[in-house]
Symmetry: C2
Subunit: 396 residues, 2 copies
C-alpha cells in the first residue's frame, strides 16, 4: 500500500509520495511576459507526481520545524550542497516533514537546473559485463577483463565543468580519431558518438583529506542517486586513452537527471549484490553487501521519427562493485570527498544481448546495426534524442 | 637593468619588482594573542622581496584608479577567481598600478593559502624524456612512447579537492600495490612514494561549453604559472592504471606554490619550443611556438639531516607540447575551462641523467639509489621535506 496524500499522483508516475527526489528549479517566465523582468532565482524542490514542492517557500514559512532544519538556511540556496553537508539526520527530518506537506507547483511550469555544485566527478567501471565487452572489443577476446578488475573498483577522474542537467543540448565534439594502420590521425566531428547508461551517487558530508571512510559507514555519505549519461566519442577515446585513460572522448558533456532520488526512497528495493570471488580485501569487505533493483531503459528518438524506440533494458542490480565499496575505495588513500561530488557507476550492462548499456556494445563497435522503428542505426545521429528511465515499483 | 623601487629587494630574491606573483594570504595571529579572536580573512596579495603587498587594502583605499579596476570588488575576495575571469586587460592594469605602489607586510608575518578555487584540475604528459623513461620502465624498451604521443598532448583529469598549498603536510597513502606474479595484491601504506616536478597553468576567462579556444588565442586565457608537485604512489599507480589511467596513486595530495607568477613577468624569458615532427594538425599549429627558460630544481631534506640535498636540475623549456597547445587541445572537443582551473604540464624531465623529474626515473623504479648528503635513498621516507624552486634571471 502506498502512502496516502491529497495530492493526486497517477499510478504510473515515477514520482509517488514514497520517492520525493530532490532537484533545483526556477519558475518559468510567463509566456509573453516582460522580458526585462529578472529571472526567478533557482531554489530547491521535491518532485511529487507532475508537481514540484518549493522547499524555499516551505522553509521561509517556518514549516520545517524539526530541530535540525528550523533555523537552517539550507533551502534558501541555489544548490543543494549546504543541505548535503548536513548529513543523514537532516535528510531524514526533511523527508518526514515533506511527507506531511503540500505547496505544489506544476512541473511543466518550472525549469530544472543542475541540482548541485559538483566539485569533483569520478566515474567507476563496475559492471563486469561492460568491462568484459569493452575489453574484448578494444583488446581482443583473450583475458578481456584486466587482472586488477576483480580486486578493486577501477575508476578515473572525469570532468566536472561539463556536467549538465537533462535537456541540455549536446554538441557533437571534434577531435582526433584513431588512424587506420599507419596513416595520420583523422580530425573532424566524431563519427562514433555514443551514450553510456549509468547512475551516479551524490555525495553527502564527505571526509577530510587523509581520513578514509570505512566501507560500513559509506552509506551515511551517500545522499542519493541520479541517472547519468556519460556521452562518449568512441573514435576520440580509442586514440587518446593509452596510457592515461579517457579525456576528450568524455569531457564534452555528461548529463545527469534533474531529480536526486534518495537512498531512503530506494530502501524497499534493496537486493543482494553479486557474490564476489576472489573475496575482496578487508577494507572493501562490507557487512551489508547490497544493490538496488532499479530497472533501467534507454530509448532513442531520431529527429524525423514520431516515436522513440527502445534500445536496451538493464538494471542497477547488475553492478559487481557496490556504491558503498566504490566510495570506501575512493577514500582509502586519504582522498577527500565533498558535499555534491558525483560518483558515476560506469556503464550498467546486463548479461543479455538486450541489456547492454551503450552503442559500442549493442552494435559491437559499429559492426552490427540496431533497428529504430525499422530504421538501421549504428552510432548517434544529429538530432537524436536519448531518453533514460529508471523506475522502481513494489509488487503487491 | 631591473626596475627601481624604494622597497629593498635582495639581489638573489625570487620576487623582484619585475615578478609580482599573485597569491592569497592572511596575516598570522600574533604569538600569545587572544585565541578567541577571529582569524583574519584571506585576501589577495603580491610578493615583493620578503614582503607581501595587500591588494585588498590597496583596493579599499581607492588606489586601483584605472578604468577596469577602480569599481571592481575583485580584490575583496578570498580567492583570485573573480580577478582571473576579467582577463588580460585587467591583469595588465593591475600590474602597472602595483609597480607604482608600496603598502607591504613581511612575508614571514603572513600565512599563505590556496590562491584559487580550483573547479577542475587536468594533468598533461608533455615531456618527451619523461614519456620515454616511464614507457621503458612500465612497458619495456620497445616503442616506449605510445604512437599517439607525437600527435596530441596526452592528459588525464586529476582530483581538484586534494590540491593543497605548499607547506601542507602530505600523509602517506594506503592502497593496493602491484602483486608479484600471480600472488594477491599487497595492501598497506605505499612503499614507493614519489614527487613529480611540474609547473601548472592557472586559467583565466576560459570558454563556454561547445566553443573551443583557438591555439593562437590560448595565451589570453593563461593568467600565470605555479610550481606543482604531483605526489605519486608508484605501487598503487602501477596496479590500478590499466585501462582507465591514474586514480588513487595521485589523488591523495597535489601541492602547488602559493604564488602565481604571471605570463607578463615571464615574458623576458620566452624561448623557442622544440621543433615538432610530425608537424601538428592545424588546430595545434601555432604562430608563436614558445616555451619559457625557467631553471627548476628539486631538493630533499630528510628529517634527521640539517641540510637539504639537491636531487635534480631541470628546465621548463624541455616541454615538447607548449601550454598554449595544451589549452587549445583541451577545448577542441568543446570542453569548457573556467577561471581558476589548473592545468599541470606533467613531469618536466630533461635529457640528462641529472635532469629527471621524479624518483621513479632518477632511481629507475628503485633499482638504483640516490645519495642525499651521503645517505642512500630510493623513494620518499617519512619526514622528508621536498623543496621545488624555479627562478628566472636575466643575464646582463
Amino acid at each position: 500500500m502506498g502512502l496516502k496524500s491529497f495530492v493526486e499522483v497517477p499510478d504510473d508516475s515515477h514520482f509517488p509520495l514514497e520517492n520525493l527526489p530532490y532537484g533545483i528549479f526556477r519558475p518559468k517566465a510567463p509566456v509573453g511576459g516582460d522580458p526585462s523582468q529578472a529571472v526567478a532565482a533557482p531554489r530547491p524542490g521535491v518532485a511529487i507526481g507532475d508537481s514540484v514542492l518549493d522547499l524555499s517557500a516551505i522553509s521561509s514559512a517556518g514549516l520545517f520545524d524539526g530541530p535540525l532544519l528550523s533555523n537552517s538556511q539550507c533551502f534558501n540556496q541555489p544548490s543543494l550542497n549546504k543541505f548535503l553537508a548536513m548529513g543523514r539526520p537532516a535528510w531524514k527530518e526533511a523527508r518526514a516533514t515533506i511527507q506531511k506537506l503540500l505547496s505544489l507547483i506544476k512541473q511543466n511550469e518550472v525549469e530544472m537546473v543542475l541540482p548541485v555544485v559538483i566539485g569533483d566527478y569520478t566515474d567507476f567501471f563496475s559492471s563486469m559485463y561492460h568491462a568484459k565487452n569493452c575489453g574484448t572489443i578494444f583488446r581482443g577476446p583473450e583475458n578481456p577483463i584486466p587482472t586488477n578488475w576483480f580486486h578493486l573498483p577501477i575508476a578515473y577522474h572525469g570532468r566536472a565543468s561539463s556536467v549538465v542537467v537533462s535537456g541540455t543540448d549536446v554538441i557533437r565534439p571534434s577531435g582526433q580519431g584513431h588512424p587506420v594502420s599507419s596513416s595520420s590521425p583523422y580530425f573532424g566531428p566524431s563519427k562514433k558518438l555514443d551514450f553510456e547508461l549509468e547512475m551516479a551517487v551524490i555525495v553527502g558530508p564527505g571526509n577530510e583529506l587523509g581520513r578514509p571512510i570505512n566501507v560500513n559507514e559509506a552509506y551515511e555519505h551517500i545522499f542519493g542517486l541520479v541517472l547519468m549519461n556519460d556521452w562518449s566519442a568512441r573514435d576520440i577515446q580509442a586514440w587518446e586513452y593509452v596510457p592515461l585513460g579517457p579525456f576528450l572522448g568524455k569531457s564534452f558533456s555528461t548529463t545527469i537527471s534533474p531529480w536526486i532520488v534518495t537512498l531512503e526512497a530506494l530502501e524497499p528495493f534493496a537486493c543482494d549484490a553479486p557474490k564476489q570471488e576472489p573475496h575482496p580485501l578487508s577494507y572493501l569487505a562490507e557487512k551489508k553487501h547490497m544493490n538496488y533493483d532499479i530497472p533501467l531503459e534507454v530509448w532513442i528518438k531520431p529527429a524525423e521519427h514520431e516515436k522513440a524506440a527502445i534500445v536496451t533494458k538493464s538494471n542497477f542490480k547488475h553492478l559487481y562493485w557496490t556504491i558503498t565499496q566504490q566510495l570506501a575505495h575512493h577514500t582509502i588513500n586519504g582522498c577527500n570527498l565533498k558535499p555534491g561530488d558525483l560518483l558515476g557507476t560506469g556503464t550498467i550492462s546486463g548479461p543479455e544481448k538486450e541489456s547492454l548499456g551503450c552503442l559500442l556494445e549493442l552494435t559491437w563497435n559499429g559492426q552490427n546495426e540496431l533497428s529504430l522503428n525499422g530504421s538501421p542505426q549504428k552510432f548517434l545521429e544529429d538530432g537524436d534524442e536519448v531518453i533514460f528511465t529508471g523506475y522502481c515499483k513494489v509488487c503487491y
